[in-house]
C-alpha cells in the first residue's frame, strides 16, 4: 500500500524510533510520577499506553509531547533532543490532542480544523492556498467534510473527536499523540474514533495514545506499553503481552484471557464477584 502523509511527503524511512524517552524523570512539584523511564515509539504503528489510574500514562504522553519538562533525562524526536527544538518546530512534527478539549461556542468545524495550520502560519501569511488545501484534505481524511459549516458544539461526541483529530492532522504531521481519545464516548462512538485512528495508521501515521479500555487497546494497537507506578511493566505486541498474570500484576485484576471470537487478538474477560460461573480449572487459573 502506498504510504502517504497528509502533506504528500514521504514519511521518514527506517526502523528507528520516531520518538523516544531516555531515563526521564517527571513530577508535579516535588512528587516524582515517573522516575528513570526508557521507552521507544516504533514508526508506522499504533502504540497504546495502558495502566491503572494514576500510574503516569498521561504524564508520559505529556512528557513525550514536550507539554511537561522532565527533571532529568531526554526526549528524542526524529534524532533530536526535543528540549532544544523550537516550540513551533515541534508542532510541525508532532500533533497532540489533550484529554477532553473544549472549543468556543459557535466555532465552526472548518475554522477549528484551520487552526491546526497555526505552526505553518505567520502574521502576514495567515491563510495561504497550501493551508486551505491541507485543511481540505484533513477534513476529508477524517470524514467530517460534510460537517464543515456546522458549529462544533452541535456535533455528537464522536464527531467532535473526529474534528479535533482532524485539527491535529492539519498540522501536517504524521506523528499523533492522543490522550484518551475515547473519554466520555459511548462504545459505538469509541469504535468509530478508533476506526479513524486505524485508517490514519493505514495511511502511514505513527500514533501514540492512552486508553482506559483494555479490550479496545488490544484490538486497535500493534504495540502495548503497560505501566504501573511510573515504570514500564511490559511492552510489545498485544498477543505477547496480554496474559492473565500481567493483568493481575499491573491492575490487580482477576481476568481470563481468551481468543477474540471476531479477531486475531486476545480478549480480556474480567472476573468480578457477581454473576460469575467458573469451572474449577478456570477458577484456579484465574487466581
Amino acid at each position: 500500500m502506498a504510504v502517504e502523509s497528509i502533506t504528500g511527503a514521504v514519511p521518514a524511512a527506517g526502523g528507528s524510533a520516531r520518538l523516544s524517552a531516555r531515563g526521564v524523570a517527571v513530577g508535579y512539584g516535588a512528587r516524582p510520577v515517573i522516575d528513570g523511564l526508557d521507552v521507544a515509539i516504533p514508526p508506522g504503528v499504533v502504540t497504546t499506553i495502558i495502566g491503572p489510574n494514576g500510574c503516569g500514562k498521561s504524564t508520559l504522553l505529556r512528557t513525550l509531547s514536550r507539554l511537561l519538562k522532565p527533571t532529568s533525562g531526554t526526549v528524542v524526536l526524529d534524532g533530536e533532543d526535543i528540549a532544544g527544538l523550537r516550540t513551533r518546530d515541534v508542532a510541525k512534527k508532532l500533533g497532540l490532542l489533550p484529554q477532553a478539549p473544549v472549543a468556543p461556542e459557535g466555532l465552526t468545524v472548518s475554522d477549528l480544523v484551520a487552526r491546526g495550520r497555526h505552526p505553518h502560519q505567520s502574521w502576514l501569511r495567515q491563510w495561504s492556498s497550501d493551508d486551505a488545501a491541507v485543511v481540505g484534505r484533513a477534513l476529508a481524511m477524517t470524514g467530517v467534510a460534510d460537517l464543515a459549516d456546522r458549529p462544533v458544539d452541535s456535533l455528537s461526541g464522536g464527531q467532535r473527536q473526529r474534528v479535533w483529530i482532524s485539527m491535529t492532522l492539519a498540522q501536517g504531521t504524521d506523528l499523533l499523540l492522543l490522550d484518551e481519545p475515547t473519554t466520555y464516548l459511548d462504545l459505538a462512538h469509541a469504535i468509530d474514533v478508533l476506526d479513524l485512528v486505524d485508517d490514519l495508521h493505514e495511511s502511514g501515521c505513527t500514533v501514540v495514545m492512552v486508553l482506559h479500555d483494555l479490550n479496545l487497546a488490544t484490538r486497535y494497537s500493534d504495540n502495548l506499553v503497560v505501566m504501573r507506578d511510573g515504570a514500564i511493566l511490559a511492552q510489545g505486541h498485544p498477543r505477547e503481552v496480554i496474559t492473565a498474570e500481567l493483568l493481575h500484576e499491573a491492575f490487580g485484576l482477576r481476568a481470563k484471557v481468551i481468543d477474540d471470537p471476531v479477531g486475531d487478538r486476545p480478549l480480556i474477560v474480567p472476573i468480578g464477584r457477581a454473576h460469575v460461573e467458573l469451572d474449577p480449572v478456570s477458577a484456579e487459573l484465574a487466581q
Binding site: 502517504e4 497528509i6 504528500g8 509531547s65 514536550r66 507539554l67 523550537r86 516550540t87 513551533r88 518546530d89 515541534v90 508542532a91 510541525k92 500533533g95 497532540l96 490532542l97 489533550p98 478539549p101 473544549v102 472549543a103 468556543p104 461556542e105 459557535g106 466555532l107 465552526t108 472548518s110 475554522d111 477549528l112 484551520a114 487552526r115 491546526g116 497555526h118 505552526p119 502560519q121 505567520s122 502574521w123 502576514l124 501569511r125 495567515q126 491563510w127 495561504s128 492556498s129 493551508d131 486551505a132 488545501a133 485543511v135 481540505g136 484534505r137 477534513l139 476529508a140 481524511m141 470524514g143 467534510a145 464543515a148 459549516d149 458549529p151 491535529t168 498540522q171 485508517d199 495511511s203
Partner: protein, 355 residues
Amino acid sequence: MRPGGTAVKVPVAPGVRLGGVSFVWRPWTAGVTVLLAAAAFLVFCLSIGVGDFPIGLPRVLATIAGRGEQVDEFVILDLRMPRALAGLVVGIALGVSGALTQSIARNPLASPDVLGITSGAGAVAVFLVTASGGAATAVVDSVGLSAAALAGGLGTGLLVYFLAWRRGVDGLRLILIGVSVTAVMQAVTTWLLVTADIRDVARAQAWLVGSLDNRSWDEVRVALWCTLVLLAVVSCAAFQFKPMHFGDEIAAGLGVRYAAVRAVLLLCAVLLAGVAVSAAGPVPFVALVAPQVAMRLARCPTPPLVASGMVGALLLTGSDLVARTALPVSLPVGVVTAAIGGPFLVYLLVRANRR
C-alpha cells in the same frame, strides 16, 4: 477516506491572497466592523457639532478635513475636539481591553472592572485627593492625579494576576481574586470618603463618576499615543493568541509559547484600561459589554478585537452625546454607558435564545 493526490473540493474559508500575504476572508465580520467604525466616526462628528454654538455636520467634516472657517476651527479643534477624541480613544481602549481579558480568562465576566484595575485606580485617586499630608500633595503636584491613578490601577491589576498565578492562570480563579481585590479597594474608597473633609469628598466624587468634561489637548494627546502604541503591540501578539481560545494544552501543541503571549496581552489589557481610567475616570460597563456586543454583531465565536474597540468607541461617544443633549440634567457619561449597553446586551442574548 484515502487522502490521495487529487484535489478534494471541500468547504473551507475563502482567503485573500496577495503575494506572500494572505488572510481569511470573512465578509460579514469585515462589513460589520467597517459599519461600526463609520457609525463611531459619525457620532464623533455629531458630538463635535453639538453645543451652545451648534455647527452642522458638513461644516464639522470640512473643518476636520482642514477646509473650515476660522471660527469653526477655533470652536471645533481647540474647544470640542479634545472631549470628542477622548471619548473615541477611551472607548477603543476599554473595548479592546475587555476583549483581551475575556479571551484570556475564557470567561465573559472577566473585564477590567472585575479584575480590580478600575477600583484600584479609584482608591489611589481618592486617597490622594482626601489625604491632607504633604507627601500626597507632592505626588499629585509632580506626576498629576491621572498618572498616580494609572499607577494604582496597574499595581492592582498586577497584584490580581500574581495572586491568581498557580502553575498557569485559570480564568475562574482570576475572576474570583479580581472580585475579592475589587471589594477591598471599594471598601478602602468608601472608608476614605466617609472620614475625609467634605470639600475633598466632592472633588473625589467628581473624579469617581467618570466623565469626559474639561479634557485638555495635553491629556488627550498622552492617552492617544499610549493607546496607539499598546494597540500596535496587541496587533502583533494577537496572531499568536488565536489558538489560545482552545486552552493552554492545545495552544502548546500548536507551537505557541502561551505563558509569554498571555503575559504580554494581559499586561496590554491592564495598561489600556489604566490609560482609559486616567483619561476619563472609571467609566463602568464599556469593557464588559463592548466585546460581547461585538461578538454577536460580527458573528464571531470569540471576542473580535477590532470590532470590540469600535463598539466601545460608539458606546462611549454615543453615551456622551446622549448625556449632553437628550437628558434634562447633565449626567456623567458612565451612567449612560450602563443604561444603554446593559439593555442592548440583554436584547441580543434574549434574541439568541429565541432563535
